[in-house]
Symmetry: C2
Subunit: 247 residues, 2 copies
C-alpha cells in the first residue's frame, strides 16, 4: 500500500493577533481536525490586514500545498479586506455574489433590519467562488480553487470548517503514539537518534517538558501504518526501560 | 516628531504545533512584549522540522523585517535542527561554539553527569553567533545578524526573550484604546469606515464578538501619538452614543 499524502497550509489574517490583543484559538483547532482526517498541516502564516501581504501569502501557499485555509477579515467593516485580497491573488474581480446578496437581503428584510452598505460587503467574493455555509451568522465564507476562506471568530470558523471537511480529499492518516519518558533530552538524545535512523519512515519527536526544576520528555512516534508505528514504539519503550534499569 | 517604525517577525519551528499535539503559547507572549516595547510584529510563520523550509523562511523574514525571533528546535535530540538550518540560511558553518561547549562541559562535570554527544549538540551554533543566556536550563540560544534563536519551551523562551529585549532598538509605541460597542458590525461598518478615512494615520479595527446569539464589537484604535489616538476615540465614542440614541 502506498501512503497518499495530502497537505494543507493555514493563513491567519489579522492585526489583532499580531498586536497581542486577541490570542489565537484557531491554529490548534485546525491542526487537530487535519490530523484526525489525514491531512498534513505543513505551514501556518499570520499576516496583517494588508492586501498585498495577504495576496502574496495566498499565492505562495496555494501553489505549494493541496489546500489552503484562511481565517479572518470577511466581515462587513473597512478592515475586512480578505475577499478583495483573495480576488487579487487569483486575478479575478471581487463582486457581489448574486446568491449571497439575495440571501442576506432576504434575511435582513425578515428581521426588519436595514441592508446597509456594510452588510452588503459580506456578499462580496471573487467571481467564480463557491459558498461555504455559515450556520451561525449566515454570511458565507467561500472557496476558490484550493483556497477556503473562513471567518476568524472561533465559533464561526469551526462551524464553517465542519462544512468544508466532507468536501476534502484526505490522505493516509498519520497514526501516533506517545511514550512518557522520565529522562531529559541530554540522556535520551543519542539512543533516540539511533532509533530514528533505524525507522526512516516513522517521524520520532522528542518534546521536552520542564516542571519544578526537572526535565522529562514526551517521545512521540508518527507513522502511516500500524506495523511501522508499533515497531518504533517497541524500541522506544525498550530504550526507556533500559535507561531506568541503569539509572 | 517623526514616528520611528521597528518591525519584527516570528518563526516557530516545530512539527508538534502543526500536528496539534502542542498548542502554541509563545505567539501571544511575543506579541504582547513587542507591543509593549514599541516593535511592530508584522508576520508569524510556523514551519515543520525541515532544514530547507526553515532556512528559506528565515531568509525571507530577515530580509524584510528589522528583527526575526525563532522558537523551537535547539535541544539535544535528532529533531533539533534549528542551528544547522540557520547556519545554512546565513551560509556559514555550524560548529561547536567554544564558550558554550566549555560552559556545558563544566556544568555536566559539576553535576557528575556525562557530557553526552546529545548534550554536546546544544553547544552547536553558526560561526560568529552571540549567545542568548538561558537562566533556566543553561544551554544558550544565539543571535546572528538580526535573527534571535530561542527555545520553544515557554518558560525558557520567556526567560531568553527577557535577556534579548534590552538589546533591541525600539520604535515609537503604538498606543491603543478600546471602545466597547453593543452593536454588530453590520450596523457600525458604514460610519466606522468614514471615521477610518478621516484618520488615516490611526489604525481602527473592529473585532466582532459573538455571545449567546448576539453580536457586539470591540472597536480598537491604535496610533503613535496620544493626540491622534484621542481624536479617533472621541469620534468612535460619539458614533456609539449616536447609535444608542437612535436604537
Amino acid at each position: 500500500m502506498t501512503a497518499e499524502i495530502v497537505t494543507a497550509a493555514m493563513l491567519i489574517i489579522g492585526d489583532e493577533i499580531l498586536s497581542g490583543r486577541t490570542k489565537d484559538r484557531n491554529i490548534g483547532h485546525l491542526a487537530d481536525i487535519m490530523a484526525a482526517i489525514g491531512i498534513d498541516l505543513k505551514e501556518v502564516r499570520i499576516v496583517s490586514d494588508d492586501e498585498n501581504d495577504i495576496a502574496s501569502a495566498v499565492n505562495a501557499l496555494r501553489a505549494r500545498y493541496t489546500y489552503v485555509f484562511t481565517t479572518g477579515g470577511i466581515g462587513p467593516t473597512h478592515d475586512d479586506i480578505t475577499a478583495d485580497s483573495i480576488s487579487k491573488a487569483f486575478g479575478v474581480a471581487c463582486e457581489y455574489d448574486p446568491k449571497a446578496y439575495r440571501m442576506l437581503e432576504q434575511n435582513y428584510m425578515n428581521r426588519d433590519l436595514e441592508f446597509t452598505e456594510a452588510r452588503k460587503r459580506m456578499a462580496r467574493m471573487p467571481v467564480g467562488a463557491d459558498h461555504i455555509d455559515n450556520p451561525v451568522s449566515l454570511a458565507p465564507g467561500f472557496r476558490i480553487g484550493n483556497v477556503h476562506v473562513m471567518a476568524g471568530v472561533p465559533a464561526i470558523f469551526q462551524a464553517m470548517l465542519d462544512n468544508v471537511v466532507p468536501t476534502l480529499k484526505t490522505g493516509t492518516k498519520l497514526l501516533s503514539a506517545t511514550v512518557e519518558c522520565p529522562f531529559g533530552e541530554g540522556v535520551i538524545g543519542g539512543p533516540l537518534g539511533e532509533i530514528q535512523k533505524a525507522h526512516p519512515d516513522t517521524i520520532i519527536g522528542s518534546y521536552p517538558k520542564y516542571l519544578d526544576g526537572n526535565f522529562w520528555t514526551e517521545l512521540v512516534a508518527r507513522a502511516r501504518t500500524q506495523d511501522a508505528l508499533d515497531a518504533a514504539v517497541a524500541e522506544i519503550t525498550a530504550m526507556v526501560a533500559s535507561l531506568k534499569a541503569t539509572a
